[in-house]
């Protein structure tokens, strides 16, 4: 077996390959030892594990902490919708909008159950006692309206949730699969599947609100009535138009004879929020309480 031929080819396209392998030397030496004894059929699996380890994410955070963070936000949302459905204001919503809120509420409850199982499954203790501050909820005077209405807060919560998941994706990159109740989950993929459902919720609530606020689109152009709220700001604000170091609104930046609009460039990408930004009092942090 000439592994070194393979390594040298990798080195041609990835000058850093030896560095990656060097830090994983234990894997490498055990591979040669085991490889001598392994049957021909077993070697491909060993090679696969060898390469996936060498190229695994290098910035992985503590998955227990990451999933408890996600659970905190899901608990906040779940409690918010529970309060919404129990509120007399809920009866002022249309039947279709009530059905949508019930659907979203069910998903948030499912996310809570799933994340509790994930945190427990990876050896952590699920966070508890996270509720939407009652006094803040009581201050919401209407179902429909702006930032101090039920739907307005729902939009801000969902869009913050979308951004919060993005902020932790790098901490889950490269983590191994976990098995919970017989099902295999890739941590990053699982987080992104929840994240995608949050984005569908956000889009729907923005769409519901567009009836009264026509400038609010399902995607964040910056023109919506709430798009200037702190939930859309941050180190990388939603108004950002530079991706991978390329300014998309510069003429001919990526396409000949084409300049993309500020709205399209901003709305095409949802931006992350850091933990500190999410838990700041101006965003989700200010909504958690008794």
């Amino acid at each position: 077996m000439n592994f070194f031929n393979i390594i040298s080819q990798l080195a041609e396209v990835d000058s850093d390959v030896m560095g990656r392998l060097d830090s994983r030397r234990a894997v490498f030496s055990s591979l040669t030892t085991v490889g001598k004894r392994a049957t021909q059929a077993a070697v491909p699996a060993l090679l696969a594990s060898f390469f996936s380890k060498a190229y695994a994410g290098t910035s992985a955070g503590d998955p227990k902490e990451v999933f408890n963070y996600a659970l905190t936000l899901e608990l906040l949302e779940a409690d918010f919708y529970k309060k919404v459905i129990a509120s007399p204001l809920f009866n002022t919503a249309t039947a279709a909008d009530q059905a949508a809120i019930r659907q979203i509420s069910k998903h948030e409850n499912s996310h809570v159950s799933l994340l509790q199982a994930v945190v427990t499954g990876i050896g952590g203790t699920p966070v508890t006692n996270i509720t939407f501050k009652q006094a803040t909820f009581n201050s919401l005077a209407t179902f429909y309206g702006g930032a101090t209405s039920i739907l307005g807060v729902a939009q801000l919560l969902e869009d913050t949730g979308v951004r919060a998941y993005k902020g932790r994706a790098a901490d889950l990159q490269g983590l191994g699969d976990v098995t919970i109740s017989g099902s295999v989950y890739n941590p990053l993929e699982t987080a992104l599947r929840i994240h995608s459902v949050e984005a569908r919720h956000a889009a729907h609530i923005r769409y519901m609100r567009s009836t009264l606020n026509p400038a609010t689109t399902p995607w964040i152009t910056g023109g919506g009535d709430l798009d200037g709220q702190p939930h859309y700001t941050g180190a990388t604000p939603e108004s950002n138009t530079t991706q991978s170091g390329v300014s998309l609104i510069a003429a001919n930046a990526i396409t000949a004879n084409t300049t993309y609009s500020q709205a399209d460039a901003a709305a095409s990408f949802d931006e992350p929020l850091t933990v500190a930004e999410v838990t700041d009092a101006s965003r989700a942090g200010g909504l958690i309480g008794a």
């Binding site: 000439n2 031929n5 393979i6 080819q9 990798l10 396209v13 990835d14 850093d16 491909p44 090679l47 190229y55 290098t58 279709a96 659907q103 979203i104 069910k106 998903h107 948030e108 499912s110 996310h111 799933l114 993005k166 994706a169 790098a170 990159q173 295999v184 890739n186 990053l188 993929e189 992104l192 599947r193 929840i194 994240h195 995608s196 459902v197 984005a199 569908r200 919720h201 956000a202 889009a203 729907h204 769409y207 399902p218 995607w219 991706q243 991978s244 170091g245 390329v246 998309l248 990526i254 084409t258 993309y260 609009s261 399209d264 460039a265 709305a267 095409s268 990408f269 949802d270 992350p272």
Partner: protein
């Protein structure tokens, strides 16, 4: 680390001809070595195949090609709809589809730029296209059905895609990561236009877990295959999700 740190040989040649990333050759060599337990030091030459066979390269570049093809499929279809919209498609619906088209164009062009920063360079043969002839784009319902099919497909593809990236560079992941949720927003919105309230129904989301239903690159590729004929795309070199 530069975000465009791939070999110049990569840029020079369109796919489907001969040269794939050397990483791809390395993995092919791995398989060959394992299969024969031989000790060849030769890089196996890819077999000169049918010109309509296009194999996406391995590693992150292959994933970008895959994202590019999705964006090409969606932007081509949306563009076709907007070029001669059915009369019963409302102004508001046209605006939604126009926004979605513009976003997909940004993705298509940005992925293209990422694969090959030579603006105006071609990634595929000149007659390669996404053929929309089998969609019914002459009625509102036909349009919404086609757009939902494609938007749901892209939304289902992205959460699976990101964990497959292996580059140490944060840029490729960040780009795709920022796109995942916008694909979801598109799918939810077109669903609401077609069937009000279906933005996240049980055909899209597993009710018990609240997880989005996803599709692997092989499943997405199979769904798109009829529209790329006579070209045949292979995603066999792409990493396989769990």
């Amino acid at each position: 680390m530069s975000e465009h740190s791939f070999s110049s040989a990569w840029r020079a040649q369109p796919l489907g001809r001969r040269n794939f990333l050397r990483v791809s050759a390395a993995s092919a060599a791995t398989v060959a070595l394992v299969a024969t337990t031989g000790c060849s030091t030769e890089t196996p030459e890819p077999v000169e195949a049918d010109p309509h066979q296009i194999a996406l390269p391995s590693a992150d570049k292959g994933l970008f090609y895959y994202g590019y093809l999705l964006a090409l499929a969606l932007s081509t279809t949306y563009d076709k709809i907007l070029a001669s919209p059915p009369t019963d498609l409302t102004t508001a619906e046209r605006t939604v589809i126009a926004n979605m088209r513009d976003h997909q164009l940004v993705y298509r062009e940005l992925y293209h730029y990422y694969i090959d920063p030579t603006i105006g360079g071609a990634l595929f043969p000149t007659d390669f296209a996404f053929n929309t002839a089998t969609f019914t784009l002459t009625t509102r319902l036909g349009v919404l059905a086609a757009v939902q099919q494609l938007a749901d497909l892209a939304a289902a593809a992205y959460p699976v895609l990101l964990p497959l990236f292996t580059s140490a560079s944060a840029y490729p992941r960040a780009l795709l990561l920022k796109t995942v949720s916008v694909q979801a927003r598109h799918a939810a919105t077109i669903r609401d236009l077609r069937t009000p309230g279906s933005f996240a129904d049980s055909t899209a989301v597993e009710p018990s877990t609240g997880l989005l239903r996803t599709k692997t690159p092989a499943e997405v590729n199979a769904a798109l295959a009829p529209y790329f004929a006579p070209y045949v795309i292979s995603v066999a070199n792409l990493a396989v999700p769990v």
